[in-house]
Subunit: 157 residues, 2 copies
């Protein structure tokens, strides 16, 4: 809990409450850098017809845009709810330093959200998951990987 700052969670929670009033999902998040909120996000899945617009993803996209950097090292995220696997993956790719959350994935399940189910799916082999997943052999699929690996002027991420 060392650096936890309640006012940032207050803001994430406030966003989540406001968003329900506006017709969106009950989730809010803020991204903090050097003691200041640099980005806010709410769930806009139904408002924008975009299944990826969870609060954390929205906040990450805003923070990256503001900093003009896909790498959010040095930032922390405060989310009103435990990030789902999609959002947790986004947090890893963004290299965020620390995650604070309030409600849990179990709380989310209790009001009808699939977070826990998707976490369970992540843990099992692809061939046993509910969404059929097929590894196919494609002769030239590895070409892009080879080209990337050999490229000397690439921007790694």
């Amino acid at each position: 809990m060392e650096n936890y700052n309640e006012k940032f969670m207050d803001e994430a929670v406030r966003l989540s409450v406001e968003n329900v009033k506006k017709g969106g999902g009950p989730f809010g998040a803020v991204i903090v850098k050097n003691g200041k909120i640099i980005a806010r996000g709410v769930n806009m899945v139904t408002m924008l017809n975009d299944p990826t617009c969870h609060a954390e993803v929205t906040a990450i996209r805003e923070a990256s845009g503001k900093l003009n950097n896909f790498d959010l090292s040095g930032c922390e995220i405060y989310s009103s709810c435990e990030p789902c696997p999609m959002c947790l993956g986004a947090i890893y790719w963004a290299r965020i330093d620390k995650i604070y959350f309030a409600n849990t994935k179990t709380d989310a399940r209790n009001i009808g959200f699939d977070d826990s189910f998707i976490y369970d799916e992540m843990k099992i082999p692809a061939e046993k998951r509910k969404i059929p997943t097929v590894k196919v052999i494609h002769q030239s699929a590895i070409e892009a990987f080879k080209n990337w690996d050999e490229k000397t002027d690439k921007t790694e991420y």
Copy 2:
């Protein structure tokens, strides 16, 4: 493999190869509905400075926008590489019917991408993960969930 159509994977792979030439990551994906490609995506993390812009997420956002629907039931996704946890989460939230992929997360690890590492992180309890994750008690965090649960005119997703 039953309904696998090689031409769709050809297109996902072609996108991945083209994207490396353009300076982006070596990943491409297409979304198919009723036998037609309705959306394409490539990795634009470094080009757009957006860590969430993986090929699959990009294709999902485009498909949802075109169909004006966050629910992509009836769609299949062809990805040049096994989806990472972020993209797999997005696929679940989008309710896509089926996943085809060519390169594996191990292939991705071999050229420096963190997909396998993030999968490993997903499987372990939050308190043991590399990114410190703190559950905090916040008195009013559950309020948004209660309001959502009691709301009678909500759009569920």
